[in-house]
Symmetry: C2
Protein backbone atom coordinates (compact mmCIF):
# COMPACT_ATOMS: atom_id res chain seq x y z
CA UNK A 1 0.00 0.00 0.00
CA UNK A 2 1.15 3.54 -0.74
CA UNK A 3 0.78 5.73 2.33
CA UNK A 4 -0.03 9.41 1.99
CA UNK A 5 1.40 11.72 4.66
CA UNK A 6 -0.28 15.09 5.11
CA UNK A 7 1.64 17.78 6.96
CA UNK A 8 2.41 21.50 6.66
CA UNK A 9 5.07 22.01 3.99
CA UNK A 10 8.26 23.96 4.75
CA UNK A 11 8.97 22.51 8.18
CA UNK A 12 10.02 19.18 9.67
CA UNK A 13 7.61 19.60 12.56
CA UNK A 14 5.65 16.67 13.88
CA UNK A 15 5.51 15.20 10.39
CA UNK A 16 9.19 14.34 10.65
CA UNK A 17 8.56 11.61 13.24
CA UNK A 18 6.36 9.87 10.68
CA UNK A 19 8.79 10.47 7.81
CA UNK A 20 11.66 8.88 9.72
CA UNK A 21 9.65 5.70 10.33
CA UNK A 22 8.56 5.48 6.70
CA UNK A 23 12.12 6.13 5.50
CA UNK A 24 13.77 3.60 7.84
CA UNK A 25 11.36 0.95 6.59
CA UNK A 26 11.80 1.91 2.94
CA UNK A 27 8.02 2.25 2.74
CA UNK A 28 6.15 3.45 -0.32
CA UNK A 29 4.78 6.88 0.63
CA UNK A 30 3.89 10.29 -0.73
CA UNK A 31 4.65 13.46 1.23
CA UNK A 32 1.44 14.94 -0.11
CA UNK A 33 1.87 18.64 0.67
CA UNK A 34 5.31 18.73 -0.92
CA UNK A 35 3.96 17.48 -4.23
CA UNK A 36 2.84 19.82 -7.00
CA UNK A 37 -0.69 21.17 -6.90
CA UNK A 38 -0.90 20.20 -10.57
CA UNK A 39 -0.57 16.54 -9.55
CA UNK A 40 -3.71 16.87 -7.42
CA UNK A 41 -1.61 16.96 -4.25
CA UNK A 42 -0.05 19.91 -2.41
CA UNK A 43 -1.61 22.02 0.32
CA UNK A 44 -5.00 22.17 -1.41
CA UNK A 45 -5.31 18.39 -1.17
CA UNK A 46 -4.71 18.60 2.59
CA UNK A 47 -7.18 21.43 3.06
CA UNK A 48 -9.75 19.62 0.93
CA UNK A 49 -9.50 16.59 3.19
CA UNK A 50 -9.55 18.58 6.44
CA UNK A 51 -12.53 20.64 5.33
CA UNK A 52 -14.51 17.83 3.74
CA UNK A 53 -17.98 17.76 5.31
CA UNK A 54 -18.24 14.02 4.56
CA UNK A 55 -15.17 13.08 6.60
CA UNK A 56 -16.41 11.23 9.70
CA UNK A 57 -13.06 10.75 11.42
CA UNK A 58 -11.87 14.33 11.39
CA UNK A 59 -8.25 15.18 12.35
CA UNK A 60 -7.86 18.07 14.78
CA UNK A 61 -4.59 19.04 13.11
CA UNK A 62 -1.87 17.67 10.82
CA UNK A 63 0.00 15.40 10.61
CA UNK A 64 -2.38 12.75 9.40
CA UNK A 65 -1.85 9.64 7.35
CA UNK A 66 -4.05 8.22 4.65
CA UNK A 67 -3.79 4.45 4.43
CA UNK A 68 -6.32 3.30 1.85
CA UNK A 69 -9.62 4.69 3.05
CA UNK A 70 -8.43 5.11 6.64
CA UNK A 71 -7.33 8.52 7.90
CA UNK A 72 -5.30 8.53 11.11
CA UNK A 73 -4.13 11.58 13.05
CA UNK A 74 -2.06 12.33 16.17
CA UNK A 75 1.64 11.59 15.65
CA UNK A 76 1.92 8.88 18.31
CA UNK A 77 -1.26 7.22 17.07
CA UNK A 78 0.02 7.17 13.49
CA UNK A 79 3.25 5.55 14.68
CA UNK A 80 1.29 3.03 16.74
CA UNK A 81 -0.56 2.10 13.54
CA UNK A 82 2.56 2.04 11.36
CA UNK A 83 4.90 0.34 13.85
CA UNK A 84 3.90 -3.29 13.30
CA UNK A 85 3.29 -2.73 9.57
CA UNK A 86 6.80 -1.30 9.08
CA UNK A 87 8.56 -3.78 11.38
CA UNK A 88 9.34 -0.99 13.84
CA UNK A 89 7.42 -2.26 16.88
CA UNK A 90 7.50 -5.38 19.03
CA UNK A 91 5.19 -8.29 18.19
CA UNK A 92 3.45 -8.58 21.55
CA UNK A 93 0.83 -6.25 23.03
CA UNK A 94 2.86 -5.44 26.17
CA UNK A 95 5.87 -4.51 24.06
CA UNK A 96 3.80 -2.32 21.77
CA UNK A 97 2.22 -0.47 24.69
CA UNK A 98 5.66 0.13 26.19
CA UNK A 99 7.02 1.62 22.97
CA UNK A 100 3.87 3.71 22.64
CA UNK A 101 4.29 4.91 26.23
CA UNK A 102 7.81 6.05 25.37
CA UNK A 103 6.52 7.79 22.25
CA UNK A 104 3.89 9.65 24.29
CA UNK A 105 6.59 10.82 26.69
CA UNK A 106 8.67 11.97 23.72
CA UNK A 107 5.56 13.84 22.52
CA UNK A 108 5.34 15.60 25.90
CA UNK A 109 8.98 16.65 25.60
CA UNK A 110 8.36 17.92 22.06
CA UNK A 111 5.40 20.02 23.24
CA UNK A 112 7.50 21.51 26.02
CA UNK A 113 10.33 22.26 23.59
CA UNK A 114 7.83 24.01 21.33
CA UNK A 115 6.39 26.02 24.19
CA UNK A 116 9.78 27.55 24.98
CA UNK A 117 9.18 29.94 22.05
CA UNK A 118 5.37 29.93 22.33
CA UNK A 119 4.52 29.93 26.05
CA UNK A 120 1.47 32.21 25.68
CA UNK A 121 -0.27 31.30 22.45
CA UNK A 122 0.50 29.13 19.43
CA UNK A 123 -1.41 31.60 17.26
CA UNK A 124 0.74 34.56 18.32
CA UNK A 125 4.16 35.46 16.94
CA UNK A 126 7.27 34.66 18.95
CA UNK A 127 7.98 38.39 18.88
CA UNK A 128 4.78 38.95 20.87
CA UNK A 129 5.84 36.64 23.72
CA UNK A 130 9.59 37.12 24.04
CA UNK A 131 9.88 37.94 27.77
CA UNK A 132 7.67 34.95 28.62
CA UNK A 133 9.65 32.74 26.23
CA UNK A 134 12.84 33.72 27.99
CA UNK A 135 11.48 32.56 31.34
CA UNK A 136 9.99 29.36 29.97
CA UNK A 137 13.17 28.47 28.07
CA UNK A 138 15.18 28.93 31.24
CA UNK A 139 12.89 26.59 33.15
CA UNK A 140 13.02 24.12 30.27
CA UNK A 141 16.79 23.99 29.91
CA UNK A 142 17.47 23.98 33.67
CA UNK A 143 14.67 21.78 35.01
CA UNK A 144 12.57 19.92 32.46
CA UNK A 145 15.11 18.95 29.82
CA UNK A 146 17.54 17.28 32.26
CA UNK A 147 14.57 15.44 33.78
CA UNK A 148 13.44 14.10 30.40
CA UNK A 149 16.95 13.22 29.22
CA UNK A 150 17.73 11.50 32.51
CA UNK A 151 14.56 9.49 32.17
CA UNK A 152 15.33 8.26 28.65
CA UNK A 153 18.96 7.53 29.56
CA UNK A 154 17.67 5.38 32.39
CA UNK A 155 15.21 3.60 30.08
CA UNK A 156 18.05 2.60 27.72
CA UNK A 157 20.20 1.54 30.66
CA UNK A 158 17.43 -0.70 32.01
CA UNK A 159 16.49 -2.27 28.68
CA UNK A 160 16.73 -5.99 29.49
CA UNK A 161 17.67 -6.72 25.87
CA UNK A 162 20.75 -4.48 26.04
CA UNK A 163 21.55 -0.78 25.98
CA UNK A 164 21.40 -0.28 22.21
CA UNK A 165 17.79 0.88 21.96
CA UNK A 166 15.02 2.24 24.14
CA UNK A 167 12.98 -0.97 24.01
CA UNK A 168 13.90 -4.52 23.09
CA UNK A 169 16.70 -5.84 20.90
CA UNK A 170 15.66 -4.10 17.69
CA UNK A 171 15.17 -0.53 16.57
CA UNK A 172 11.62 0.84 17.01
CA UNK A 173 9.91 4.02 15.89
CA UNK A 174 10.57 5.46 19.37
CA UNK A 175 14.34 5.27 18.71
CA UNK A 176 13.85 7.18 15.46
CA UNK A 177 11.83 9.83 17.29
CA UNK A 178 14.44 10.07 20.04
CA UNK A 179 17.07 10.67 17.35
CA UNK A 180 14.93 13.46 15.90
CA UNK A 181 14.44 15.07 19.31
CA UNK A 182 18.19 15.14 19.92
CA UNK A 183 18.74 16.62 16.46
CA UNK A 184 16.14 19.27 17.23
CA UNK A 185 17.50 20.04 20.67
CA UNK A 186 21.01 20.45 19.24
CA UNK A 187 19.62 22.90 16.69
CA UNK A 188 17.59 24.88 19.22
CA UNK A 189 19.81 24.73 22.30
CA UNK A 190 23.40 24.07 21.15
CA UNK A 191 24.99 25.59 24.26
CA UNK A 192 22.77 23.73 26.68
CA UNK A 193 23.12 20.46 24.82
CA UNK A 194 26.90 20.80 24.84
CA UNK A 195 26.69 21.16 28.60
CA UNK A 196 24.17 18.34 29.09
CA UNK A 197 25.17 15.64 26.63
CA UNK A 198 28.20 14.26 28.53
CA UNK A 199 25.76 13.16 31.23
CA UNK A 200 23.73 11.04 28.81
CA UNK A 201 26.18 8.84 26.90
CA UNK A 202 23.62 6.15 26.04
CA UNK A 203 21.29 8.68 24.44
CA UNK A 204 24.17 10.15 22.44
CA UNK A 205 25.17 6.65 21.30
CA UNK A 206 21.57 5.87 20.33
CA UNK A 207 21.49 9.05 18.27
CA UNK A 208 24.66 7.98 16.43
CA UNK A 209 23.32 4.46 15.93
CA UNK A 210 20.19 5.83 14.25
CA UNK A 211 22.16 8.32 12.14
CA UNK A 212 24.29 5.44 10.83
CA UNK A 213 21.33 3.36 9.60
CA UNK A 214 21.68 2.93 5.85
CA UNK A 215 18.28 4.30 4.86
CA UNK A 216 18.28 7.08 7.47
CA UNK A 217 21.73 8.19 6.32
CA UNK A 218 20.52 8.33 2.72
CA UNK A 219 17.38 10.17 3.75
CA UNK A 220 19.21 12.80 5.80
CA UNK A 221 21.31 13.84 2.81
CA UNK A 222 18.42 13.69 0.34
CA UNK A 223 16.15 16.51 -0.75
CA UNK A 224 13.30 14.79 1.06
CA UNK A 225 14.83 15.92 4.37
CA UNK A 226 14.00 19.55 4.97
CA UNK A 227 16.38 21.67 7.04
CA UNK A 228 15.48 22.90 10.52
CA UNK A 229 14.27 26.50 10.48
CA UNK A 230 12.61 29.06 12.72
CA UNK A 231 9.08 28.17 11.65
CA UNK A 232 9.21 24.69 13.17
CA UNK A 233 9.03 23.14 16.63
CA UNK A 234 12.76 23.46 17.30
CA UNK A 235 13.98 27.01 16.70
CA UNK A 236 17.44 28.52 16.96
CA UNK A 237 16.79 31.65 19.01
CA UNK A 238 20.13 32.38 20.66
CA UNK A 239 18.54 34.34 23.48
CA UNK A 240 16.63 31.23 24.60
CA UNK A 241 19.81 29.13 24.81
CA UNK A 242 21.56 30.63 27.79
Amino acid sequence: MQYELYYWPGIQGRGEFIRLALEEAGADYVDACRRAESSGMGMSAMMRLMESPELAQLPFAPPFLKAGEQIIAQTANILFFLGPRLGLAPDDEAGRLWVHQLQLTIADLVTEAHDTHHPIGSGLYYEDQKPEALRRAQDFTQMRLPKFLGYFESVIERNPAGADWLAGADITYADLSMFQVIEGLRYAFPRNMKRLEPEYPLLVALHERVAARKRIKAYLTSKRRQAFNNDGIFRAYKELDR
Copy 2:
Protein backbone atom coordinates in the same frame (compact mmCIF):
# COMPACT_ATOMS: atom_id res chain seq x y z
CA MET B 1 -7.92 -9.19 37.84
CA GLN B 2 -7.65 -6.43 40.42
CA TYR B 3 -6.10 -3.32 38.88
CA GLU B 4 -3.95 -0.99 40.95
CA LEU B 5 -4.06 2.69 40.02
CA TYR B 6 -1.15 4.85 41.16
CA TYR B 7 -1.63 8.61 41.18
CA TRP B 8 -0.92 11.60 43.43
CA PRO B 9 -3.44 11.67 46.27
CA GLY B 10 -5.52 14.78 46.97
CA ILE B 11 -6.34 15.72 43.39
CA GLN B 12 -8.43 14.34 40.55
CA GLY B 13 -5.74 15.22 38.02
CA ARG B 14 -4.96 12.87 35.17
CA GLY B 15 -5.79 9.90 37.39
CA GLU B 16 -9.47 10.82 37.14
CA PHE B 17 -9.66 9.81 33.48
CA ILE B 18 -8.63 6.30 34.52
CA ARG B 19 -10.93 6.24 37.55
CA LEU B 20 -13.97 7.13 35.43
CA ALA B 21 -13.31 4.23 33.06
CA LEU B 22 -12.81 1.77 35.92
CA GLU B 23 -15.94 3.05 37.68
CA GLU B 24 -18.18 2.96 34.58
CA ALA B 25 -17.15 -0.65 34.01
CA GLY B 26 -17.58 -1.61 37.65
CA ALA B 27 -14.02 -2.94 37.57
CA ASP B 28 -12.20 -4.31 40.57
CA TYR B 29 -9.50 -1.74 41.37
CA VAL B 30 -7.50 -0.18 44.15
CA ASP B 31 -6.74 3.55 44.21
CA ALA B 32 -3.37 2.74 45.74
CA CYS B 33 -2.21 6.14 47.00
CA ARG B 34 -5.49 6.76 48.80
CA ARG B 35 -5.14 3.58 50.83
CA ALA B 36 -3.51 3.53 54.24
CA GLU B 37 0.26 3.24 54.46
CA SER B 38 -0.35 0.53 57.05
CA SER B 39 -1.96 -1.62 54.36
CA GLY B 40 1.26 -1.51 52.35
CA MET B 41 -0.25 0.99 49.93
CA GLY B 42 -0.30 4.80 50.05
CA MET B 43 2.25 7.20 48.62
CA SER B 44 5.20 5.09 49.77
CA ALA B 45 4.01 2.21 47.62
CA MET B 46 3.99 4.52 44.60
CA MET B 47 7.40 5.97 45.35
CA ARG B 48 8.81 2.48 45.96
CA LEU B 49 7.63 1.40 42.52
CA MET B 50 8.83 4.57 40.75
CA GLU B 51 12.23 4.41 42.40
CA SER B 52 12.75 0.69 42.11
CA PRO B 53 16.07 0.08 40.34
CA GLU B 54 14.75 -3.26 39.05
CA LEU B 55 11.82 -1.77 37.17
CA ALA B 56 12.58 -2.10 33.44
CA GLN B 57 9.52 -0.25 32.12
CA LEU B 58 9.83 2.91 34.12
CA PRO B 59 6.97 5.47 34.14
CA PHE B 60 8.05 9.09 33.60
CA ALA B 61 5.25 10.26 35.89
CA PRO B 62 1.95 9.13 37.43
CA PRO B 63 -0.68 8.00 36.66
CA PHE B 64 0.34 4.44 36.08
CA LEU B 65 -1.59 1.21 36.29
CA LYS B 66 -0.45 -2.13 37.63
CA ALA B 67 -2.19 -5.01 35.91
CA GLY B 68 -0.65 -8.20 37.22
CA GLU B 69 3.06 -7.82 36.53
CA GLN B 70 2.56 -5.20 33.84
CA ILE B 71 3.04 -1.51 34.64
CA ILE B 72 1.55 0.92 32.14
CA ALA B 73 1.89 4.71 32.18
CA GLN B 74 0.65 7.69 30.15
CA THR B 75 -3.07 8.31 30.63
CA ALA B 76 -4.10 7.71 27.01
CA ASN B 77 -1.98 4.55 26.86
CA ILE B 78 -3.58 3.18 30.03
CA LEU B 79 -7.01 3.82 28.55
CA PHE B 80 -5.99 2.17 25.29
CA PHE B 81 -5.03 -0.90 27.33
CA LEU B 82 -8.15 -0.85 29.50
CA GLY B 83 -10.67 0.06 26.77
CA PRO B 84 -11.25 -3.39 25.28
CA ARG B 85 -10.89 -5.10 28.68
CA LEU B 86 -13.58 -2.90 30.22
CA GLY B 87 -15.90 -2.92 27.20
CA LEU B 88 -15.23 0.77 26.60
CA ALA B 89 -13.63 0.62 23.16
CA PRO B 90 -14.71 -0.66 19.73
CA ASP B 91 -13.83 -4.21 18.71
CA ASP B 92 -11.98 -3.40 15.50
CA GLU B 93 -8.51 -1.88 15.12
CA ALA B 94 -9.67 1.13 13.10
CA GLY B 95 -12.30 1.96 15.72
CA ARG B 96 -9.81 1.64 18.55
CA LEU B 97 -7.31 3.93 16.83
CA TRP B 98 -10.04 6.49 16.24
CA VAL B 99 -11.07 6.52 19.92
CA HIS B 100 -7.41 6.72 20.90
CA GLN B 101 -6.91 9.64 18.51
CA LEU B 102 -9.78 11.46 20.22
CA GLN B 103 -8.27 10.68 23.62
CA LEU B 104 -4.92 12.12 22.53
CA THR B 105 -6.65 15.29 21.38
CA ILE B 106 -8.43 15.48 24.74
CA ALA B 107 -4.99 15.08 26.36
CA ASP B 108 -3.72 18.06 24.35
CA LEU B 109 -6.66 20.14 25.56
CA VAL B 110 -5.99 19.06 29.16
CA THR B 111 -2.34 20.11 28.88
CA GLU B 112 -3.35 23.50 27.52
CA ALA B 113 -5.93 23.94 30.30
CA HIS B 114 -3.19 23.13 32.84
CA ASP B 115 -0.79 25.57 31.25
CA THR B 116 -3.21 28.47 31.76
CA HIS B 117 -2.05 28.57 35.39
CA HIS B 118 1.45 27.20 34.73
CA PRO B 119 2.65 28.78 31.47
CA ILE B 120 6.28 29.14 32.59
CA GLY B 121 7.15 26.11 34.67
CA SER B 122 5.25 23.21 36.22
CA GLY B 123 7.73 23.23 39.11
CA LEU B 124 7.05 26.88 39.98
CA TYR B 125 4.13 28.21 42.01
CA TYR B 126 1.19 29.84 40.25
CA GLU B 127 2.00 32.95 42.28
CA ASP B 128 5.35 33.13 40.50
CA GLN B 129 3.82 33.23 37.03
CA LYS B 130 0.61 35.23 37.42
CA PRO B 131 1.07 37.88 34.70
CA GLU B 132 2.04 35.17 32.20
CA ALA B 133 -0.91 33.03 33.33
CA LEU B 134 -3.25 35.93 32.69
CA ARG B 135 -2.07 36.23 29.10
CA ARG B 136 -2.12 32.49 28.47
CA ALA B 137 -5.59 32.09 29.98
CA GLN B 138 -6.88 34.84 27.74
CA ASP B 139 -5.49 33.14 24.65
CA PHE B 140 -6.89 29.82 25.87
CA THR B 141 -10.43 31.01 26.53
CA GLN B 142 -10.62 33.20 23.42
CA MET B 143 -8.78 31.09 20.84
CA ARG B 144 -7.89 27.56 21.81
CA LEU B 145 -10.89 26.46 23.85
CA PRO B 146 -13.49 27.38 21.18
CA LYS B 147 -11.33 25.59 18.62
CA PHE B 148 -11.19 22.39 20.68
CA LEU B 149 -14.89 22.48 21.64
CA GLY B 150 -15.91 23.17 18.05
CA TYR B 151 -13.82 20.21 16.95
CA PHE B 152 -15.40 17.76 19.40
CA GLU B 153 -18.90 19.09 18.66
CA SER B 154 -18.24 18.40 15.01
CA VAL B 155 -16.97 14.89 15.79
CA ILE B 156 -20.22 14.02 17.61
CA GLU B 157 -22.26 15.56 14.81
CA ARG B 158 -20.45 13.46 12.21
CA ASN B 159 -20.61 10.18 14.12
CA PRO B 160 -22.20 7.84 11.56
CA ALA B 161 -23.75 5.80 14.38
CA GLY B 162 -25.65 8.82 15.72
CA ALA B 163 -24.93 11.92 17.75
CA ASP B 164 -25.03 10.32 21.22
CA TRP B 165 -21.32 9.66 21.61
CA LEU B 166 -18.00 10.73 20.13
CA ALA B 167 -17.40 7.41 18.36
CA GLY B 168 -19.75 4.60 17.43
CA ALA B 169 -23.08 3.57 18.95
CA ASP B 170 -21.81 2.84 22.47
CA ILE B 171 -20.08 4.80 25.18
CA THR B 172 -16.26 4.69 25.10
CA TYR B 173 -13.57 5.87 27.49
CA ALA B 174 -13.22 9.01 25.34
CA ASP B 175 -16.79 10.02 26.23
CA LEU B 176 -15.98 9.62 29.92
CA SER B 177 -12.89 11.78 29.48
CA MET B 178 -14.86 14.40 27.56
CA PHE B 179 -17.33 14.51 30.46
CA GLN B 180 -14.46 15.08 32.88
CA VAL B 181 -12.98 17.86 30.74
CA ILE B 182 -16.32 19.69 30.67
CA GLU B 183 -16.62 19.27 34.46
CA GLY B 184 -13.13 20.68 34.85
CA LEU B 185 -13.69 23.57 32.47
CA ARG B 186 -16.89 24.52 34.30
CA TYR B 187 -14.95 24.55 37.56
CA ALA B 188 -12.02 26.55 36.19
CA PHE B 189 -13.77 28.87 33.74
CA PRO B 190 -17.45 29.19 34.79
CA ARG B 191 -17.95 32.55 33.10
CA ASN B 192 -16.38 31.52 29.83
CA MET B 193 -18.18 28.19 29.79
CA LYS B 194 -21.50 29.93 30.37
CA ARG B 195 -20.74 32.06 27.33
CA LEU B 196 -19.47 29.18 25.18
CA GLU B 197 -21.73 26.22 26.02
CA PRO B 198 -24.82 27.33 24.04
CA GLU B 199 -22.72 26.93 20.90
CA TYR B 200 -21.97 23.27 21.64
CA PRO B 201 -25.30 21.57 22.42
CA LEU B 202 -24.11 18.06 21.48
CA LEU B 203 -21.18 18.28 23.89
CA VAL B 204 -23.45 19.51 26.66
CA ALA B 205 -25.86 16.64 25.96
CA LEU B 206 -23.00 14.13 25.98
CA HIS B 207 -21.91 15.49 29.36
CA GLU B 208 -25.43 14.96 30.73
CA ARG B 209 -25.65 11.50 29.21
CA VAL B 210 -22.44 10.45 30.98
CA ALA B 211 -23.50 12.05 34.28
CA ALA B 212 -26.73 10.02 34.17
CA ARG B 213 -24.97 6.64 33.81
CA LYS B 214 -25.87 4.54 36.82
CA ARG B 215 -22.36 3.73 37.97
CA ILE B 216 -20.97 7.19 37.18
CA LYS B 217 -23.81 8.81 39.12
CA ALA B 218 -23.08 6.60 42.12
CA TYR B 219 -19.35 7.31 41.81
CA LEU B 220 -19.76 11.09 41.63
CA THR B 221 -21.62 11.18 44.96
CA SER B 222 -19.31 8.67 46.65
CA LYS B 223 -16.25 9.37 48.76
CA ARG B 224 -14.13 7.87 46.01
CA ARG B 225 -14.70 11.01 43.93
CA GLN B 226 -12.46 13.77 45.19
CA ALA B 227 -13.57 17.39 44.78
CA PHE B 228 -11.85 19.75 42.35
CA ASN B 229 -9.36 22.03 44.07
CA ASN B 230 -6.59 24.47 43.29
CA ASP B 231 -3.83 21.86 43.34
CA GLY B 232 -5.14 20.02 40.28
CA ILE B 233 -5.18 20.55 36.53
CA PHE B 234 -8.38 22.60 36.54
CA ARG B 235 -8.18 25.48 39.01
CA ALA B 236 -10.72 28.12 39.95
CA TYR B 237 -8.67 31.30 39.73
CA LYS B 238 -11.26 34.02 39.07
CA GLU B 239 -8.73 36.35 37.50
CA LEU B 240 -8.06 33.79 34.74
CA ASP B 241 -11.76 33.53 33.85
CA ARG B 242 -12.44 36.87 32.26
